[in-house]
């Protein structure tokens, strides 16, 4: 009797520990990159925004309907953003005459004046907007920067990426948004 009950207790404890380990391994994640890359917003309509651009105009998502819009959250002090800068510059050059693709930078967690001065000194020649109050960054569910969202022509978010992207990765995401694999 004693041997059987001890065995059952051991089996019970082993099952509880195994289930707990499986739940921990599959459900718990503190890696913001992994969390952002499986953003809940992918497959859902992109949050609308209407922000002041550095060039004095307004940047409205609604005016870009029918285009693939690459929204890149960045700031002047983030080192990975600087690492990504070359890829964004090349991507912008590649699509400068492509009316179907727009690259929009949105400043996250930085002052407009500092980010504006940085953009000017580094000749960032794509559309950049500030996000007063970070309301758009929150609507997109951002966790840091750089963070990039690719919005397809139908206005649905096709992909989200946390961390610096390469030109090849950006091209692949844009191709996916346009139905090209």
């Amino acid at each position: 009797m004693k041997g059987i009950s001890t065995r059952w207790i051991a089996i019970g404890v082993a099952i509880v520990v195994a289930v707990f380990a499986i739940v921990l391994a599959t459900q718990v994640s503190t890696d913001p990159r992994a969390a952002a890359n499986r953003s809940n917003l992918v497959g859902r309509p992109a949050p609308k925004f209407d922000l002041p651009a550095f060039d004095g105009t307004r940047v409205r998502l609604a005016e870009r309907a029918g285009k693939t819009v690459v929204v890149n959250f960045w700031n002047s002090w983030c080192i990975p953003c600087r690492q990504e800068e070359g890829a964004l510059r090349a991507f912008q050059r590649e699509h400068a005459r492509d009316a179907s693709v727009d690259l929009v930078g949105i400043v996250r967690d930085d002052s407009t004046s500092t980010a504006g001065a940085y953009a000017k000194s580094h000749s960032l020649n794509w559309t950049i907007a500030s996000d007063p109050g970070s309301s758009v960054a929150v609507k997109f569910g951002t966790r840091g920067q750089p963070e990039t969202y690719v919005i397809g022509p139908s206005g649905v978010i096709v992909a989200a990426h946390y961390g610096p992207l390469t030109v090849a990765e950006l091209d692949a995401l844009v191709a996916r948004s346009q139905g090209v694999q």
């Binding site: 289930v19 969390a35 109050g133 970070s134 309301s135 960054a137 951002t142 966790r143």
Partner: protein, 151 residues
């Protein structure tokens, strides 16, 4: 029957304590108290181990402003929580959800406590059943012989 009375009393006290502790406090909260309460439930998205209520990051401030605005627009606490879970996933909640996979976190300690209490009861009952040794006639005779020899 009488020996169960302390256990029943203990169970009553334990259940009463848990019920009182877990019972939601009544009264209608002000909008700012609701906003603070909700912000305290949400994890700061770009800092470690802090709630949105306790963090001073730009995103935490933006979320606090958004919560206040949603309350002004008449959204319920459930709606606001659901919105943020929809945006960021369950990980935005500092306290795991009490449904779905999150319920496991709440149920596990109860299971472990129950298993421990059960084990304790089994151990105590076994201990009580252990027969107490009584001196036999042979034992008594042996003791008598030893006493006589000492005398």
């Amino acid at each position: 029957m009488r020996k169960w009375i302390p256990w029943v009393l203990l169970a009553v006290v334990a259940i009463a304590t848990i019920t009182v502790a877990a019972w939601p406090s009544g009264g209608k909260q002000s909008a700012s108290a609701r906003a603070h309460g909700l912000a305290a439930e949400l994890r700061c998205v770009d800092c470690e181990s802090l709630s949105v209520a306790d963090s001073s990051t730009v995103s935490a401030r933006a979320i606090r402003a958004d919560i206040a605005q949603r309350i002004r627009h008449g959204e319920s606490d459930v709606d606001i929580r659901a919105y943020y879970v929809g945006q960021y996933g369950e990980s935005i909640l500092l306290k795991p959800a009490s449904s779905g996979i999150g319920a496991f976190v709440w149920i596990l300690p109860v299971l472990v406590l129950g298993a421990g209490a059960g084990g304790l009861v089994v151990a105590l009952r076994r201990w009580q059943r252990t027969p107490r040794l009584r001196a036999s006639d042979e034992d008594r005779a042996l003791v008598e012989r030893e006493r006589e020899l000492d005398a």
